[in-house]
């Protein structure tokens, strides 16, 4: 799928090749996440997917989001997952019955959904090319822009976010503590 698109493009080969390789790896890893029989392996494959997403962010000139992705997901969320797995005493190893009885119904649903999304995307953006992302390392304008946006027009959502995080932290403590 992507190979076809790559061939049709050819604006920046290196970038497209990079995208393709990472994308292929991500899709493979994502499939492993939902198909492996080992819970810990699933978590580790998820790391690959999330790292790939971070790499795609870098390609899309969103360095700050990429760094946040690495720190929040790979740094924090994955640790949470691993602790969750350990604390729920999942078997470290293969486990039968990780899937539902009716798991097969997921396949048609996913395929139909993908067909629909792909059709919508190609119908709308099929021929659009995007401007060369400026991979500026030193003069990182986008980070400054993000800071300005977050602290000026999106200040209220930002504050809202802080309350959500606080509530989530307290909620998680209340739920998980033993008393």
């Amino acid at each position: 799928m992507n190979a076809v698109l790559l061939a049709a493009d050819g604006v920046n080969v290196a970038q497209n090749i990079g995208f393709g390789i990472i994308a292929a790896g991500m899709i493979f890893a994502a499939l492993c996440v939902v198909s492996t029989k080992n819970v810990v392996h699933a978590a580790l494959w998820l790391v690959v997917v999330l790292g790939g997403v971070a790499a795609q962010y870098v390609l899309a000139a969103a360095e700050f989001v990429a760094v946040s992705q690495v720190m929040v997901y790979i740094g924090a969320v994955m640790v949470l997952f691993l602790f969750g797995i350990m604390l729920t005493r999942a078997k470290i190893g293969e486990e039968s019955g990780l899937n539902n009885k009716g798991w097969a119904i997921g396949i048609p649903v996913a395929v139909v959904l993908f067909g629909l999304l792909a059709w919508a995307v190609l119908d709308t953006y099929g021929d659009d090319t995007i401007a060369e992302p400026q991979l500026t390392g030193a003069n990182n304008e986008s980070t400054v822009d993000i800071a300005d946006r977050v602290l000026s027009p999106y200040l209220a959502p930002f504050f809202g976010m802080t309350f959500v995080l606080l509530a989530a932290a307290i909620g998680a403590i209340v739920l998980a503590r033993k008393d």
């Binding site: 009716g102 119904i105 048609p108 649903v109 996913a110 139909v112 919508a120 602290l151 000026s152």
Partner: protein, 852 residues
């Protein structure tokens, strides 16, 4: 990065290392705080050595800065006074100096500003740094000095306290916060320091939080000040937005937070600086000062704050932190000057609040039995004087009063601490546990007397020079009524101080002062320890430093719990004075600071002895900014850490008149608009010319106060005069007045019962009422209506008409339901599958419909 470049100023003003590295004064205590918290417990003296060393270092730097500032002023004067003045003006782009009375020229001495960019947002830069001018250098030195003495005092005073390390940590952090605020070069930094102080005040008042009264007092102080602090934020924001345009136009490097820029803006005569905005901003800022400086009606927290250890009371709640509000007004005085129209004798909010505070606090001091509360109300009253001075244009006397008041009030508090530590066995109750201590504690008694004389303004002690200056200038600026209020307050001061002096040091020893309390106390000592043992293990667990020799420390900690039971007790029972029961003189570490302060309380007034002639007015010369219009040309912001100058003084239009020292002037900074392209940084305040008659008047007033009070004390406390004893029982007026005072004008009751209740209860009640009456009634009505309708439908339609049909369809529905029941599996995955599947199908349908 740290070494600031020698800044080349327009005028060859001398500068120096200390002035340019003034930020070290605040940084050193901040670092010391971190060291105390991290390593304090491991140090042989529990971390106090860090605090003392840092305060000593700060004091050295502040002293150096003071000397260099004086040299700078002198160099400016010499430069301008010379015959080559005009030549220099053009060369260095200086202002035209104004001619003072003596024909000398007094140039504007540019402050030494050093600044770093702290953070920036959308091109708006917030600096942090130091702003060295006379006012800040004076107060930096004062804070460092008093802090050092109080820390020395505390070594002995809180020895063996279980939170000894935390105590010194908070004390040092407080000093850092105060120093940050005093040297603030912009409002954001000022707020930072202000809030650090508020936090430390909370921590230190509640130092013995095991006692509910203490933690309540801490909370009260915190919340009351917080009410005012909202004013600080609002005021800063208002001033920022009001001044932004003018500042952006005239000084692109600066913004509406920079203090120099705000000063220049306020006096610019620009339309933005004379409308409602500046009035709102100044009022909001002054509300913050009311909270912090304990002015009426938010003064109620300050006396309660005396629940903290005595060193805290003497440092925070008398000499330094509470003058933060006064400092704020003095720092951006042009704003208040313009907003309240002080120049033209406007009856300002500040002056009125100050005057009210003087009298009501002084009256309250009469009914206190707790020696520290007397001093607390006295502090409130003296802060009222400072505010009165600022509100009436007597800037210099007010600042000078801050300076002298710090010495004698701190000394009085330390004396009170010394008494409770060694004389009255940790009690502060003058009526129960003191009396006749003058022979037992001669040094403390002498220091107390000197400070009392200074406080009441007796010649030649410090308070005389500052307080009388305020009163004199208030009258001179045309506020005759307020001047009499000030004089009345001075008489009251003399009276309540006489009362407390008499109760403490004269008469028969009572209670602990006679040694009684002590024996009783020993009796129940063990009991209390036992009682509190389990509680200790829990509450004091992490605080008590449990290492190899647990006994002495935990024992003294236990003793502390016991002190807590006495309410106003101070901590650290000294087991070392276990043998000699009864009052005795305190140790050296306590007496040395007391004596130093008493010395300064005697002589510090001579630093600005106006009545002795102009050559004695050192504070005026070095501290008061010169009200000179200086031409401004903006320069770009310099690099980080370098000296910055938002306004380079250039040559001003030569139209300055004689806005010199005489009153009745009508021109000058703050009175007329400065010439185009120039700015003023300080208004032309007037200075009263002292006359013998005025001095005599105030001394006579004080003498009358003393005479009345001494004769009353002798009659009431010594001879138990029948006409006076029991007066409050016999006379209704006296009883009502006494009750009114004892209840502190019912302000606490007003706040707690009326305001809090008025706010909290009606909302709750209204919500409940709405809930009960409106919502429930609606629901009930709807339910009732539904029930009736249903009944009717049931009886008429359902039963008769539909029943037959329903029975048939019911069967069908039941069948369908059973069929669909299988989808209601309760399994999340299945629901998810259905959800996404249904979404996909619906989307496909939509696509087909739209595309087709």
């Amino acid at each position: 990065m740290l070494a600031a470049e020698e800044v080349q100023h327009a005028l060859d003003l001398s500068s120096g290392w200390f002035l340019e590295n003034l930020w070290l004064v605040a940084l050193i205590p901040a670092v010391a705080f971190a060291l105390i918290m991290m390593f304090g417990k491991k140090m042989p003296n529990g971390g106090s050595e860090f605090g003392l060393a840092s305060m000593a270092a700060s004091l050295v730097i502040a002293t150096g800065a003071g000397i260099q500032w004086m040299a700078r002023v002198n160099s400016g004067d010499a430069e301008e006074g010379g015959e080559h003045a005009i030549g220099l003006l053009q060369t260095f782009g200086r202002s035209l100096p104004r001619a003072s009375e003596g024909g000398e020229v007094e140039p504007f001495i540019e402050p030494v500003v050093t600044s770093w960019v702290w953070w920036q947002n959308s091109g708006l830069e917030f600096g942090i740094g130091s702003f060295a001018d006379g006012l800040s250098v004076l107060l930096l030195w004062l804070v460092a000095f008093i802090s050092l003495l109080v820390q020395i005092f505390s070594i002995d005073y809180v020895r063996d306290d279980r939170r000894y390390t935390q105590f010194f940590g908070a004390l040092t952090l407080f000093s850092a916060g105060m120093l940050v605020m005093v040297m603030a070069e912009n409002m954001v930094q000022l707020i930072l320091g202000w809030e650090i102080m508020g936090l430390c005040s909370f921590m230190l008042i509640g130092h013995w939080w095991e006692d509910a009264a203490n933690s309540k007092a801490a909370l009260k102080a915190f919340f009351t000040v917080r009410v005012g602090d909202i004013g600080l934020l609002v005021g800063t924001a208002v001033i920022y937005f009001a001044s932004s345009d003018w500042i952006a136009e005239n000084s692109p490097g600066a913004n509406g937070f920079d203090i120099a820029a705000i000063q220049a803006w306020a006096l610019s005569g620009d339309s933005s600086a004379s409308g409602a905005a500046i009035l709102v901003g100044a009022t909001a800022l002054f509300i913050a000062c009311i909270g912090k400086s304990g002015q009426f009606p938010l003064h109620t927290w300050l006396p309660d704050a005396m629940a903290g250890p005595t060193p805290v009371s003497s440092l925070l709640h008398s000499s330094t932190m509470v003058v933060a509000g006064v400092f704020l007004v003095a720092r951006i005085y042009p704003v208040f000057w313009e907003a309240f129209n002080i120049a033209n004798g406007g009856l300002s909010f500040i002056a009125i609040i100050g005057a009210i505070t003087i009298v009501i606090a002084a009256l309250l001091a009469f009914v206190q039995d707790d020696i520290k509360k007397v001093l607390a109300y006295s502090t409130v009253s003296q802060l009222g004087y400072m505010m009165l001075g600022l509100g009436t244009g007597a800037w210099l006397p007010a600042v000078f009063h801050v300076f002298t008041h710090a010495f004698f009030k701190c000394c009085l508090f330390l004396c009170a601490g010394s008494i409770s530590h060694s004389g009255s066995h940790h009690s502060f109750d003058m009526k129960k546990d003191m009396g006749g201590l003058r022979k037992k504690m001669p040094v403390t008694f002498a220091a107390w007397c000197v400070s009392t004389l200074a406080l009441t303004g007796v010649f030649p002690f410090a308070g005389f020079w500052s307080k009388d200056e305020i009163i004199d200038n208030v009258g001179n600026n045309g506020y005759t009524v307020l001047m009499w209020v000030g004089l009345f307050g001075a008489a009251l001061t003399a009276m309540y101080m006489t009362r407390s002096t008499y109760l403490t040091f004269f008469g028969e020893p009572r209670g602990a002062a006679a040694g009684h309390h002590f024996e009783d106390h020993v009796g129940d000592h063990d009991l209390t320890v036992e009682e509190h043992e389990p509680e200790l293990a829990m509450a004091g667990g992490p605080m008590v430093d449990v290492h190899d020799e647990p006994t002495p420390r935990s024992l003294s900690a236990a003793a502390n719990v016991d002190t807590v039971d006495h309410g106003h007790d101070d901590g650290g029972h000294d087991d070392h004075h276990g043998e000699d029961h009864g009052p005795h003189e305190s140790g050296k570490l306590i007496l040395v600071p007391v004596v130093i302060l008493a010395f300064l309380a005697t002589f510090s007034g001579f630093t600005n002895a106006t009545p002795l002639g102009e050559s004695w007015e050192y504070v005026k010369k070095y501290v008061e900014p010169r009200p000179v219009a200086v031409a401004i040309e903006s320069i770009p912001h310099s690099g980080p850490g370098e000296g910055v100058s938002y306004f380079v003084p250039g040559i001003a239009e030569a139209d300055e008149g004689d806005e010199g020292g005489d009153h009745g002037h009508s021109e000058g900074c703050g009175l007329t608009t400065p010439p185009e392209g120039s700015a003023c940084f300080f208004p032309a305040v007037t200075h009263a010319t002292p006359t013998l008659a005025k001095i005599a008047l105030s001394l006579v007033v004080v003498a009358i106060g003393y005479a009345i009070a001494i004769s009353f004390c002798l009659a009431f406390y010594k001879r138990r005069d029948k006409r006076l004893v029991g007066l409050t029982e016999r006379s209704r007026v006296a009883r009502a007045g006494h009750k009114f005072l004892v209840n502190k004008y019912y302000l606490d009751a007003l706040y707690e019962n009326v305001i809090v209740r008025a706010v909290a209860h009606p909302i709750a009640n209204a919500a409940y009422w709405v809930n009960q009456k409106v919502l429930d009634a609606t629901v009930d009505a709807v339910g009732e209506g539904g029930k009736r309708t249903g009944q009717w439908v049931y009886e008429n339609i359902d039963q008769k008409v539909v029943d037959g049909a329903v029975n048939g369809s019911g069967t069908v529905a039941s069948e369908t339901g059973h069929g669909l029941q299988r989808t209601q599996s309760g399994k999340i995955n299945q629901y998810g599958g259905l959800l996404f599947g249904a979404a996909a199908v619906a989307a496909i349908v939509l696509v087909i419909v739209n595309v087709g």
